[in-house]
């Protein structure tokens, strides 16, 4: 997993909680990287899992909620880092379709070792989009958060509803998001 995910995560913990909590969850996690992340480096993704679990212990919040919150935060950060991937005039569904067909492809050119999920989309009907997340890293909650961040960015958060269905017996490795625009 790319270091950018970790640096953004730790920054979010700094902002939303406190630098002290950040230090503690690093100290308690016993990480191979010692928590020294650079955005262009690549690290074991289980380090993120350990950090999230420790954060949950520190704050009493649920892990899935934390991961989703991070996803949402991460999306805004991605837009800030890679503004050229996002066309604000675009329809939100068209943008989500471009993740698999364009954005993640461009990401792979920058980072050939990136661990990217499969994010398939289809349009079953007017105002509807099915987005199917699939990844052995089981970060469906992060995907959920990214989608929320995306709706927020395009200012359609209250116009589009999300119905989430796990298709991997709750493991979060394959999850369907049915997005519907309000009439």
């Amino acid at each position: 997993m790319k270091g950018v995910v970790f640096t953004e995560f730790l920054e979010m913990v700094d902002d939303k909680f406190s630098p002290e909590i950040t230090e503690r969850i690093i100290d308690n996690a016993d990480l191979a990287s010692n928590g020294a992340y650079t955005a262009v480096g690549t690290y074991d993704h289980t380090e993120l899992v350990k950090l999230v679990i420790n954060l949950a212990a520190e704050t009493g919040a649920e892990v899935p909620d934390l991961v989703r919150t991070f996803g949402e935060h991460f999306f805004h950060r991605l837009v800030a880092i890679y503004p050229h991937f996002v066309d604000d005039d675009q329809d939100v569904f068209a943008f989500l379709e471009s993740v698999e067909n364009y954005i993640h492809i461009e990401v792979r050119k920058l980072y050939p070792d990136a661990d990217l999920p499969s994010v398939k989309t289809e349009r079953p009907g007017d105002g509807q989009l099915i987005l199917t997340y699939e990844s052995k890293r089981c970060l469906a909650d992060a995907a959920h958060g990214l989608i929320l961040g995306c709706l927020d960015h395009f200012k359609v958060k209250d116009k589009v509803s999300i119905d989430r269905k796990d298709e991997s017996e709750g493991k979060g490795s394959r999850v369907r998001f049915n997005l519907s625009k309000a009439a």
Binding site: P19, E20, N34, Y37, T38
Partner: protein, 465 residues
């Protein structure tokens, strides 16, 4: 943030920075290496493609690459030269437009024979077809077709070669062989004929002698018979030897002596006539074939023409009548008699062919005229044949140029004649012609000067060369 936290962060940031620097260095090195490899690979590729291009362009065979519809995508230099079109023009031309109608179908058939299951098919062997140059001129070519798939699309490669030169060489070879066979046949015929002529000569001689002997003897016998008649009349007048005169008269009547008296001399005359004709022909054959004469000999051309006319009679007698207008004061001409006879024969035979090809109910005319002026002797042979079309006039002296079907013409006659007259005799051979009216071929040869001797003439001939 307390000092402890800040110190930790600083330590982490430092570690992260040196890691980032290491990563950057590693990436730089990777980039350098892969760049170098790319450069090497691209140089190899460039080299290979230059090599392939050179092969493609320098190949002496025509190579055409076309898409599935047969539209040409690449054509090499041989293709430009063979079809007389520039590569730019060839591109976007359809392959099939380079062939004549029949060949188009044959080529399509070749393509159809490909195995659709295979990605690559070379179809059969090279096939002979007819191609079209830019101006529509047809020419022979051989074609091999291969069909293959490239990036999921069907392509065709046509490899072809212009085989005009090969075809011409083959035809020339064929004609040469034919000519050789013909001349060998003629040579052995000539030898045979002169041998036969020689053999016939002796019996003809004594048949002739005997016939003359019979003629004279019969005249003598006639005078004896006349004397007997007088005797018979006298015996009758004196009424004596009745029995004997009766027997003589009965015998004479039985033998039809009166008839014999009249018929025997004329049958002997006819025999002598026939013998003379036979011996003339035999002499002609002997003179014509001239086996072994390779030296310049002064001959009487009028005589030679007469001889050649009688030898070639069979060639012209069904299509033409011949007339001769001989210059009675024609000087002797130093020549190779066999060769000059052959020239005259070729011209007479051509004249007969020209008359035959013109057709018509009536017999045509071949008029042969000899004359002399300024130490030159000319022979002209005029026919009332088809004439020579403008387009052919420049070519009739070319070896192997013929408008006649195989077996009748070899295209060698005039080329040989020209060679004999111009090269061997320092003479000229020319013609005037009008289509549908006729043609006159004229030979001029240097004559023996009235005062000169043979050696001088030869010296002059050499000087003129």
């Amino acid at each position: 943030m307390d000092i402890g936290t800040l110190e930790k962060r600083l330590a982490r940031e430092k570690a992260a920075r040196s890691e980032a620097e290491a990563l950057l260095e590693a990436k730089s090195r990777e980039l350098y290496l892969s760049n170098k490899e790319l450069l090497k690979a691209s140089q190899t590729l460039i080299g290979q493609s230059q090599q392939l291009n050179a092969i493609f362009d320098q190949a002496l065979t025509v190579i055409l690459l076309a898409d599935g519809d047969g539209t040409i995508q690449r054509a090499n230099r041989s293709a430009e030269m063979t079809f007389g079109r520039e590569a730019g023009e060839l591109k976007s031309t359809n392959l099939y437009d380079l062939l004549d109608q029949n060949s188009r179908e044959a080529a399509a058939e070749m393509e159809r024979r490909r195995d659709p299951a295979k990605k690559f098919t070379a179809v059969g062997n090279m096939q002979e077809m007819v191609g079209l140059r830019a101006d529509g001129t047809p020419f022979p070519l051989e074609l091999a077709v291969s069909v293959f798939e490239l990036e999921g699309k069907r392509h065709g490669v046509w490899i072809t070669r212009d085989i005009t030169a090969r075809k011409e060489a083959q035809e020339k070879q064929l004609r040469l062989e034919q000519e050789l066979r013909q001349s060998q046949k003629l040579e052995s015929l000539g030898t045979l004929a002169s041998g036969i002529a020689h053999e016939i000569n002796t019996p003809i001689q004594y048949i002739n002698d005997n016939a003359h002997f019979l003629k004279e003897s019969f005249a003598d016998l006639m005078s004896v018979l006349q004397a007997y008649d007088v005797l018979l009349q006298k015996a009758d007048a004196h009424d004596q030897f009745k029995e004997q005169t009766g027997a003589v008269r009965a015998n004479a009547e039985a033998a039809d002596v009166d008839f014999l008296k009249e018929e025997i001399p004329s049958s002997i005359e006819q025999t002598l006539d026939g013998i003379e004709r036979i011996s003339k022909i035999v002499t002609a054959v002997k003179e014509f074939s001239h086996p072994g004469t390779t030296e310049m000999t002064a001959i009487d051309l009028n005589q030679a023409i007469e001889t050649t006319l009688s030898v070639t009679r069979n060639e012209w007698k069904y299509v033409a009548e011949t007339t001769t207008d001989f210059d009675a004061d024609l000087p002797m001409v130093p020549c190779l008699p066999g060769d000059i006879n052959q020239v005259i024969m070729n011209l007479i035979v051509n004249a007969a062919h020209a008359i035959e090809s013109k057709g018509g109910e009536n017999l045509g005319k071949i008029a042969i005229k000899t004359s002399h002026a300024d130490g030159q002797v000319s022979v002209s042979i005029t026919d009332s044949g088809c004439g020579i079309p403008e387009a052919n006039r420049g070519q009739i002296f070319d070896p192997f140029f013929t408008t006649k079907e195989v077996g009748k013409g070899t295209g060698q006659g005039l080329s040989i004649a020209f060679n004999i007259v111009a090269q061997k005799h320092d003479g000229t051979l020319s013609f005037t012609t009008e289509e549908g009216v006729g043609t006159t071929f004229t030979i001029t040869l240097p004559a023996v000067q009235a005062s000169g001797v043979k050696a001088e003439t030869e010296a002059e001939t050499k000087e003129a060369v």
